[in-house]
């Protein structure tokens, strides 16, 4: 991979005319080696992190991808089965196709939805005086800090004697019998979306707040002189372009979040949910990985999800780079 990067960069002093491939490669390698020696201190800076990252993140991912090509069941020695798992996923597993559809549906709503809520709230907060801003930030982020709010929503929508919503509706005379909020296909999906959106003031929200704090006042003063008229123009031409790094970060966070909402769904609707109405890839993965011990198959599902997210991320990064144009 390193050699590829180099080929694109090498220009200027090195000319390629009249050289055999071997000589070219040697020249490239020499150039790379000189550059590396020149940047020795930079490698020292990244080394401790990268070594640990390689051991505890890259290796597990590679092992898992290898498992996706086997029939590993956690008891017997894994056998290599090639792309059988992937074939099975698309050709024989109707439930996977349903889960894929549901995942994309949930992600398309909660991803952009949560992203916009976080951005708008961070922007609003930034307009406030410092003391008010700090208090509101703490209050808004406190529920995320507490974590594990799903059981509380479960109690709220529960259809048993303790369900808050049913109890109130009964008491006020709106309904005569309890509604099975979480066991009805028509209700459970919107409820899940609502709860996920409620919890969207998380990591991206904090990074947006930090990003807005990094924009100096003088940019706005300069923009005002250049004829920026209102809040919206200011947002689009000054604020957003200056916090592009945080926007990109937030996008990755939102994609990962939106495709991994498994725990909220399992917590509210159970796994499997009624008629698989809220069955997503995460549910499918959990089912095969922890219930059926089909580690090979669940690894291939995870790899598929990974590819899907990479593809989407490429697309979204391109869109964000257009901000402010």
């Amino acid at each position: 991979m390193a050699a590829n990067v180099k080929l694109g960069k090498t220009s200027g002093s090195v000319t390629y005319d009249n050289l055999t491939l071997k000589e070219r490669m040697r020249k490239d390698l020499n150039w790379t080696w000189r550059e590396m020696k020149k940047n020795k201190s930079k490698y020292l800076f990244i080394a401790p992190y990268c070594v640990l990252f390689l051991i505890f993140t890259v290796c597990p991912v590679i092992i898992s991808m290898f498992f996706s090509l086997t029939d590993f069941n956690m008891l017997e020695k894994p056998n290599f089965v090639g792309f059988n798992n992937y074939y099975r996923m698309f050709m024989q597993d109707d439930l996977f196709i349903k889960a894929l559809g549901n995942t994309i549906m949930f992600a398309m709503i909660t991803g952009p939805g949560g992203y916009i809520i976080s951005l708008v709230m961070a922007w609003f907060l930034n307009e406030l005086p410092r003391a008010v801003r700090v208090i509101l930030t703490v209050l808004l982020y406190a529920p995320s800090l507490a974590g594990g709010m799903t059981p509380i929503f479960k109690v709220f929508f529960s259809s048993d004697a303790q369900g808050y919503l049913n109890a109130w509706l009964l008491d006020w005379g709106f309904i005569n019998t309890r509604i099975k909020w979480l066991e009805n296909e028509n209700y459970v999906v919107p409820i899940i979306i609502g709860v996920v959106l409620w919890g969207s003031l998380g990591t991206s929200f904090l990074s947006f707040i930090g990003g807005l704090q990094g924009i100096g006042r003088e940019y706005y003063e300069a923009a005002a002189m250049d004829g920026i008229r209102n809040r919206w123009q200011e947002l689009w031409y000054v604020t957003l372009p200056l916090m592009k790094p945080q926007l990109l970060f937030g996008a990755v966070m939102s994609i990962t979040g939106a495709f991994n909402i498994g725990s909220v769904i399992s917590g509210l609707a159970g796994n499997p949910s009624v008629n698989y109405s809220a069955h997503t890839i995460m549910q499918h993965l959990e089912d095969y990985g922890t219930t059926r011990y089909e580690m090979g198959y669940s690894s291939s599902i995870a790899t598929m999800l990974f590819l899907l997210m990479i593809f989407l991320n490429q697309f979204i990064q391109k869109c964000i780079n257009k901000v402010g144009e």
């Binding site: 390193a2 990067v5 550059e35 940047n39 201190s41 930079k42 800076f45 990244i46 401790p48 992190y49 990268c50 640990l52 990252f53 051991i55 505890f56 890259v58 290796c59 597990p60 991912v61 092992i63 498992f67 709230m121 609003f124 307009e127 406030l128 410092r130 700090v134 703490v138 406190a142 529920p143 800090l145 507490a146 709010m149 509380i152 929503f153 303790q162 109130w168 009964l170 990591t203 904090l206 990074s207 990003g211 704090q213 990094g214 100096g216 003088e218 790094p245 945080q246 970060f249 990755v252 994609i255 495709f259 993965l285 990985g289 690894s299 995870a302 990974f306 997210m309 990479i310 991320n313």
Partner: protein, 292 residues
């Protein structure tokens, strides 16, 4: 609102900020905050409810006769464990402090060259790190266990601390903030003065990215503080506070009040860290004017 704040708003008002808009915004923010806080308010009230109110019909969110009985019960249960509770607290504190400090240090050190310089491999390394964020952690338990086992880290604090050092989120966050907040011109002028890489990193870069450090501090503290049961630790005396408390909650539905009390107690430390870090972040960076 006191006059000082009004002045501040006026000062903040960069252009076309109407008073009506400000009031509408404050109203909106207040109601939105209440909506967001509702489950947390519920948990707080739940933890203060006497048992008669826990089973009331129709249920109410707010508590009428608050009592500290649930908290007293919690402490009775806590003082009654086989391994003294203080040991669990120490374990969690140790993992959280070492893991957070180590992660912020290593991630910032690695983010600095990746953000500010180009050198062979820099782009590829960052691409791999960013992409790895998207791999679902759900299937990594077994590969992770295999690696921990091969490194003889099973049943040691290191099994929790070392992966925390190299978690992906922090590096990506620090790198993005350095892209935004550290002007290249400052680093170049430091180069002219013959500053070493370490000096540039510790005296120029780190002070400039304080909002990022504050953000990362809370994210990492929160994550490590809530570390629960893991397959890597089997000795009871090395397990975490969150694990020990979850053992108390799972033992019976009648402990709903105690369960809520646990949630509130566990919230206190991250909340404190969050409040302190948020109120210490400097308003805006005075040097950002020389950004190119």
């Amino acid at each position: 609102m006191n006059p000082e704040n009004k002045k501040k708003i006026k000062h903040l008002g960069r252009l076309s900020r109407s008073r009506g808009g400000d009031i509408a915004m404050i109203l909106f923010l207040t109601s939105f905050t209440l909506l967001m806080m509702l489950p947390l308010i519920y948990a707080v009230c739940m933890s203060l409810k006497p048992s008669s109110e826990l089973w009331r019909f129709p249920p109410r969110i707010l508590v009428v006769n608050p009592t500290l009985k649930n908290y007293r019960d919690l402490f009775t249960l806590m003082s009654d464990t086989w391994v003294p509770m203080i040991r669990y607290i120490f374990n969690t504190l140790f993992i959280t402090v070492v893991g957070t400090v180590g992660h912020i240090t290593l991630a910032s050190m690695a983010a600095y060259p990746l953000s500010k310089y180009k050198f062979p491999g820099s782009k590829a390394i960052f691409l791999i790190i960013r992409t790895s964020l998207m791999f679902s952690g759900a299937v990594l338990a077994i590969p992770n266990y295999l690696i921990m086992n091969a490194l003889h880290l099973i049943d040691s604090y290191l099994a929790l601390i070392l992966p925390a050092f190299s978690s992906t989120l922090g590096l990506y966050l620090m790198k993005q903030f350095m892209d935004q907040m550290v002007p290249m011109s400052l680093l170049e002028s430091a180069d002219l003065d013959g500053a070493s890489e370490w000096l540039k990193f510790s005296k120029i870069v780190m002070p400039l990215v304080k909002p990022a450090t504050a953000t990362l501090l809370i994210l990492e503290t929160q994550r490590l503080w809530t570390t629960g049961a893991t397959p890597y630790i089997y000795s009871e005396e090395k397990k975490t506070l969150s694990y020990a408390l979850s053992q108390i909650t799972t033992s019976g539905i009648a402990r709903a009040g105690v369960g809520a009390a646990i949630q509130i107690v566990m919230l206190l430390v991250p909340l404190l860290v969050f409040i302190v870090s948020q109120s210490n972040v400097i308003e805006t960076m005075s040097t950002s004017g020389i950004k190119e």
